[in-house]
């Protein structure tokens, strides 16, 4: 089977090499991510950022998805395809979008100057990165939630409402359980994508250091291959575990990407 050959030669062998590489510099290299404050901070930064992005993406994505699934208005189809269009954008474009929005010559800077608050730049810090990650996560969530919300049973909600359930109670007891499998699958994929996103942070040359950037600079700037490999393993493990758990619990092939 050619696929086995390709897979082994082009992925498994290189990956095994990558996993074995840190051993050359001693076993402690594997744990560099825990022992070095700088790498540990970078991992925490990445996890924290990805978690926040995931939560807000799920909230906004489900709101937009439910709205679009239930209201048929003129231009709905176009709106949906415009909102999901960024799925095909490379991460670098989204980084550039943030520069256009919040960079030194950006729209926000122009607006804040007009308001007399000076030229605000937010693109290169935490906020810029956060908004960029939100930008590339939202289309996927909107597409998934719209599809899922179209299959939701309206009768359940009607019943709850006629029994006097409050708006909050309907969200908690009807929407949340009905959308739970979608939410799990979507959360896993958004989190994993955010953890591994490189192009966006690379374009923004951000001051808020995330793990993919740390790995890249260890590799190119310091030629520290063993350390880059060790950090890659850590990043890969975190992502794989999240995807694996989500796949086990949702029991579907949707958690793939």
């Amino acid at each position: 089977m050619p696929v086995v050959v390709i897979f082994f030669a082009c992925w498994l062998l290189p990956m095994a090499w990558l996993v074995a590489l840190p051993a050359q510099k001693g076993w402690e290299t594997y744990f560099a991510i825990f022992t070095h404050p700088r790498y540990w901070l970078s991992l925490l930064n990445t996890v924290w950022l990805s978690l926040l992005v995931t939560v807000l993406t799920l909230v906004l994505g489900s709101a937009v998805g439910i709205f679009l699934a239930r209201h048929k208005f003129a231009g709905r189809g176009i709106l949906l395809s415009l909102l999901t269009l960024p799925l095909s954008f490379p991460g670098v474009i989204i980084g550039f979008f943030m520069i256009l929005l919040g960079g030194r010559q950006g729209l926000i800077a122009d607006l804040s100057e007009a308001l007399g608050a000076g030229r605000l730049t937010l693109a290169y810090g935490f906020l810029g990165l956060f908004l960029a990650y939100l930008y590339f996560s939202l289309p996927r969530a909107i597409a998934t939630y719209t599809a899922a919300a179209e299959k939701m049973d309206l009768a359940l909600e009607e019943a709850a409402r006629s029994l006097g359930a409050t708006r909050y109670a309907i969200v908690r007891d009807v929407w949340l359980p009905e959308l739970a499998p979608t939410t799990l699958a979507c959360a896993a994929i958004v989190f994993a994508t955010s953890m591994g996103a490189f192009g966006t942070a690379f374009t923004l040359a951000t001051k808020f250091e995330v793990l993919p950037i740390t790995i890249y600079s260890e590799f190119t700037n310091y030629a520290n291959f063993a350390l880059a490999a060790s950090l890659s393993i850590a990043l890969g493990l975190v992502t794989w575990v999240v995807m694996y758990v989500a796949r086990r619990y949702s029991g579907s092939a949707t958690v793939l990407g």
């Binding site: 696929v3 415009l82 550039f96 309206l154 590799f219 890659s232």
Partner: protein, 268 residues
Amino acid sequence: MAQRHSPHRFPVTLALLTALVTLFMLTPMVLSITAGLVNNYSQGLVSGLTTRWLEQVWEGYGDTVLWSLAIASSCALITTIVGVPCAYALARTRSRWARLFEELLILPVAVPGLATGLALILVYGQFRSFRQSFLFILVGHVVFTLPFVVRTVSSAFANRELVAIEEAARTLGAGFSRRLLGVLIPAVMPAIIASALMVFTLSVGEFNLTWMLHTPLTRTLPVGLADSYASMRIEVGSAYTLIFFIVVLPLLWGLQVIANEVQKRYGT
């Protein structure tokens, strides 16, 4: 439907959130399109419209567009040729090794592209002529996209009705090639088309892996974009982004239309 229960303010909240998200998603697109067409970005539309940035980009980076399209098409072709038989084999075997292999095959998607790129360079980086050709990038893309083809097509092959029909064809004396051409291929065609389209899209936009694998002479569209963002004025970066929109999006849209047609014709 919700009108009867108008005291509930849900739709208002949802509509507001939708409008907010739409504004957030569309503003950057509009900004980048206009920025690529004006003479001077900081002066805005007053400075007049021009196509000179577009021309400058096409001169400097035009080849990256063609190479990206070439790599994406080859990638879709290779993954289909290699992935479809594998998908069939996986869908028809129950052995533990097949399950293990299926689990392993997901890994290139779960593991960040940066790590895969690093691994490929560490092992094959020493082979100069391979390292400096577009083939190196193509290999990375194939490994990264293969799982999508195998998963999608394999679940189509595993369809229980299809298994029954194939069984019926077999008992009626149809050999493997007859079953393949008459039953199997037509049945999974929509899945094959959908996965090939997905592979094409992923390959055109791939950056994480490609940035590690590229050389100054082997650049794809996203690599060129990153390069122009880092070293050129903002108008040039915008014009380049606009070229991405103009070339790639209609292509993806056209392919999607074809895929939908196939889905309608063969789909169940």
